[in-house]
């Protein structure tokens, strides 16, 4: 019988799948219909996952994790969880096609969703100059001048990647220093096609049918100016994807799912959370994978305890049913 359902198929979900399958929990991994593999599916070279000294492509790494989970009996379904019932002894998951799956335990590892700038014309020009995926869309900006907004690893990685196509890549960052790792920073600083615009916020998006420029406001003196770019790649971080569990699980002030100490135990028994959806700070493939391991081990311990309790109760009932 199915003991565990895992929602999510990034490093956290798939690693939970590997551990849970090896513990014979026969996990079902709800991988999503269009975002299976998670954020790494949109990255190129992953250079910091231990065990791959030459680097590995993001999609290749995720395919390998999935093979590893499936090798031990995890089942993967390419659909989206659309609703969850988490409070009973049986956790119920309804998928996009209407099918319902049940198990006594559940791991929630849905990761996070790209943060938007929150500007009026952002949605209108998405796909018409504004992009969230450099690997998908970079090639459409050959010989053009474009901007990347953000200051973390993903922003700098995207900017460096985009220099393959664009003539000029501006990095717009609202502070005077990057959060990105030293190696990514060095690569960006050494790239003659990259120019960093410090202390600037994107405050306007210009263009009728297509993006023609962005308005920048200086965070120090408040002055504003227009930067003529035909492409804008937004990499300003991501927010934990908790909409399916709102009102069911406790959420922290940072917006992540609250877990007990270093465990993956949420506010409901039998429900465990892992990966970026619980992590406000580190958000690495390897920390997400580690967190998936914790969730699978916590789920295994919970299920073993349920099993022991049921066995003890059965023994007690048999004893009390004996004639005096």
């Amino acid at each position: 019988m199915r003991q565990l359902i895992i929602i999510g198929s990034g490093p956290a979900g798939l690693t939970a799948g590997i551990y849970a399958a090896r513990a014979n929990l026969e996990p079902l991994i709800v991988a999503s219909s269009v975002e299976f593999g998670g954020e790494l599916m949109n990255t190129t070279e992953v250079e910091n996952f231990p065990g791959f000294p030459e680097g590995i492509m993001g999609p290749e790494l995720m395919a390998r994790m999935q093979q590893q989970a499936e090798r031990f009996g995890a089942e993967v379904v390419y659909d989206d969880a659309v609703s969850l019932e988490l409070d009973g002894d049986v956790k119920r998951v309804t998928l996009g096609d209407g099918t319902v799956h049940e198990a006594p335990a559940l791991v929630y590892a849905t990761g996070s969703a790209y943060r938007k700038l929150g500007l009026p014309d952002e949605d209108r020009l998405s796909g018409f100059g504004i992009s969230w995926c450099a690997t998908c869309d970079g090639a459409f900006f050959r010989t053009q001048e474009i901007a990347v907004v953000g200051g973390g690893d993903s922003a700098l990685e995207e900017a460096t990647f985009l220099t393959r196509f664009a003539d000029k890549v501006y990095i717009v960052h609202r502070r005077d220093a990057f959060r990105a790792s030293a190696v990514m920073q060095q690569r960006a600083f050494n790239d003659p096609k990259i120019e960093v615009i410090w202390n600037a916020e994107v405050t306007g998006i210009l263009g009728a049918e297509r993006l023609s420029g962005i308005e920048l406001t200086d965070t120090v003196d408040g002055s504003s100016r227009v930067l003529d770019v035909t492409g804008l790649f937004i990499a300003i971080g991501a927010d934990p994807r908790t909409h399916l569990v709102h009102g069911q699980l406790e959420i922290t002030p940072a917006g992540t799912i609250a877990v007990e100490g270093r465990s993956s135990r949420t506010s409901l028994p039998g429900v465990f959370a892992a990966g970026d959806v619980v992590d406000p700070s580190y958000k690495q493939a390897v920390t997400a994978a580690a967190s998936g391991t914790v969730a699978a081990l916590d789920a295994e311990a919970y299920l073993a305890e349920l099993h022991d309790r049921a066995a003890a109760q059965a023994t007690a009932e048999t004893a009390s049913a004996q004639p005096a």
Partner: protein
């Protein structure tokens, strides 16, 4: 059944001159979300074969058409009717969301 491929040279005949609405999936092999949405489009095409045609065009091999329609983000799924673009859908979406976007055609 997998969705038919069109090219720069067959686009006018197969898309612009078609009798029924045709949704064109602009895609490329290096685009992860394109690969993810592809089987969903195959399924929608199969289930609505009498109402809408769905074809795909590789933007790497057919840059002319992609440029003509101002594609800067893929997957981009444009519906053509009577030679004109009547609906633009950007980005991979789950099947129910795509069906909702296409409600005017497959209702």
């Amino acid at each position: 059944m997998s969705t038919k491929e069109v090219t720069d040279s067959s686009f006018a005949e197969e898309v612009l001159a078609a009798d029924k609405p045709i949704m064109v999936d602009f895609w490329a092999p290096w685009c992860g979300p394109c690969r993810a949405v592809s089987p969903i489009l195959d399924k929608i095409a199969e289930e609505n074969a009498d109402k809408i045609g769905i074809v795909k065009i590789n933007v790497d091999d057919n840059p002319e058409t992609a440029m003509k329609y101002g594609i800067t983000s893929i997957p981009a799924m444009f519906v053509f009717q009577g030679g004109e673009v009547v609906k633009r859908i950007i980005g991979a979406k789950p099947k129910p969301a795509l069906e909702a976007d296409l409600v005017d055609f497959i209702g």
